[in-house]
Amino acid sequence: MKRIQSAQELEAYRQECLAVRDPQRTVITICAGTGCLAHGCSNVVDAIRQELEKQGLDQVEVKATGCHGFCEQGPLVVVHPQGVFYHKVKVEDVPDIIARTVQKGEVIESLLYALPTTKEKISLEKDVPFYKLQKRIIFGSNGLIDPTSIDDYLAIGGYQALAKALTGMSPDAVLEEVKKSGLRGRGGGGFPTGRKWESTRNVDSEVKYVICNADEGDPGAYMDRSLLEGNPHAVIEGMLLGAYAVGATDGYVYVRHEYPLAVTNLTMAIDAAREMGLLGENILGSSFSFDIKISRGGGAFVCGESSALIASIEGQVGEPRAKHIHMAESGLWGKPTVLNNVETWANVPVIIDKGAEWYRSIGTEGSPGTKIFSLVGKVNNTGLVEVPMGITLREIIFDIGGGIPGGRKFKAVQTGGPSGGCIPEEHLDLQVDFDELGKVGSMMGSGGMIVMDDRTCMVDVAKYFLNFLKGESCGKCTTCREGILRMYEILDKITRGEGELSDLDLLEKLAVVVQEGSMCGLGKTAPNPVLSTLRYFRDEYLAHINDKKCPAGVCKELIHFEIDPDACTGCHKCARVCPVGAAHGEKKEPHEIDQDKCIKCGMCYDACKFDAVKII
């Protein structure tokens, strides 16, 4: 590949890429994101390649893409140009797909996705409600491109925003556009990106850095992973634009330890961009030079915090530092630094390409644009969804998410990760944006949206988050280290049925101490999951404390399993699955559970087809 020296050359090369990509040709795209890989998509990819060869169809292109968002339905296969959408595709299905859909344009009914409610079958990807109700301005490209091909990215208009900036916009103009767009940081706090850039821009320094935060520590959120794996060039282009605006020379992407595929795809993308002259010296023949390095995290949640992240890149222990020195003046290696989240960076090329005015037409006044949420937990359509800010929780969970599985009852949705809170049913019509979520005691966070039903215990959820945070506290502040531990111990006591009423007051008092005495965001927000569950689900705490009962049937010490003799058919299945021989009985006779032997694993409950096993 020769270096591209100007915007004109880039445009000419883009036309070459487009010329070999006739939109009417047949392309089979198959999702090869982490979710679909887990569903075994690599065998399907191989099978498709072999079958095409066997049927003499070597002109058909096979594209392994990043995550499409609908991970639970994977492996996903889409046959273009029609856009026929197949889900849960197995190797055995491949010969038929090639012979019938690719060769003859027929649709194979049995591979189509059916609506969970009406069982209606949907043939085309664009008609699947899960996608149709979204607004995928950032994430939509994932399904169209092979993340290892820079040509694919160019063919969908990639690096157009960079060319536009370098040929027709001053760094200040780029900064102004981002400021006008109202873009707010997608990594948690929602700080206005343009204002952050401006502070760094205003500091005079030969060397400045831009950093991409891909530490994605919120357990339950994976949009950053999917963006970086599926569309790494969008993040690189965003960083290039940011660097141009603030006058940075070098960039780092700090990637979470658990994301090896993201590192592989990003490394490939950086190399390709460098080879083409889109990174390095005198980009597109301009005086602007910039390059990017990757720094792999060591597996510590607190390293997502800005000062800890910087310490970690510098090769030190990832502990937060006091914030009296501003990163805009003294960040990485003591130089002015801009840190933004993966999704924030991926928004920047769209803003420069389409303009701030267009961008502001999406979302709400205070939170323009879209947000990618990780819609997971007890919801039918789990996956990643990109929606305009201002959409209601109900629309996300029930219209896009298809509601709660098994006809169970919605209880709460947890947003904001370990810093956030649980939002109850009464707030389902809340219009989701940075400010509204705060008003009900939660926050946007990085976009985790964990749906909970009547079988989720809210005391257990609060305990879960404190357990997570007590393991992740770096230990520098006593309030955080000891306070979280104390709060955890109290919750643990309550879930074991040993709690007292006064414990609830103590929890609330401790919460204030931990919030006020801790230095970084981890400690300051750690009590939120407890406070929000106490606020909305106090009844459940009281049931654990006063009645020694777990209404959701989760806390092991407070429940036991029983068989309802009237419902039991004596099918003997529970006895076969019980790992300790506690469930027993004669065939065709009602079965029983020996409570002394039972370890409360719940396998009999899962196995019984007649709902005869009850959690008491």
Binding site: Y222, H257, E258, G377, G383
Partner: protein, 149 residues
């Protein structure tokens, strides 16, 4: 023969700021961080051994103990938690006769937990030697383990 540590320090130009990356390479080469290698690394980079140890113990990616032949990683992230990850972990602990974070006496299995693997839609997720298994139930643990016994 050139030692692993020599190869790794050479790759990063003996730059002490790259120590986390070096420890990562060492961890993947040896599956843990042997004491003699850490000593050699501290010497090669001319930094105090205590600094190497502080980093090696701070980050979860590193282990100072040898790991088993198969590494079982149970996701304990929020999405997996609400779908019953704890029950799966309990069943693995019961079958292997070890607790989370431990290795079986025959050095065959290490049982670990992780706070989200970024495959939340498939929860609960268990990863054995980099291979993902989604939608796990305690009842499936037995079948899963059969492949590795």
């Amino acid at each position: 023969m050139e030692s692993t540590v020599k190869k790794i320090t050479a790759k990063y130009g003996s730059d002490p700021s790259q120590i986390i990356a070096m420890l990562q390479d060492l961890q993947s080469a040896k599956r843990y961080l042997p004491e003699e290698d850490l000593r050699e690394l501290a010497e090669a980079l001319a930094i105090p051994l205590t600094r190497v140890y502080r980093i090696a113990t701070f980050f979860k990616a590193f282990s100072l103990e040898p790991k088993g032949e198969h590494i079982i990683n149970v996701c304990m992230g929020t999405a997996c938690h609400v779908r019953g990850a704890e029950r799966i972990l309990n069943e693995l602990e019961r079958q292997l006769g070890i607790s989370r974070g431990e290795t079986t006496a025959d050095q065959k299995f290490s049982l670990e937990t992780v706070n989200c693997l970024g495959a939340c839609a498939l929860g609960p997720v268990v990863v054995v030697d980099q291979e993902y298994h989604g939608d796990m139930t305690p009842g499936q643990v037995d079948k899963l383990m059969e492949n590795y016994r």
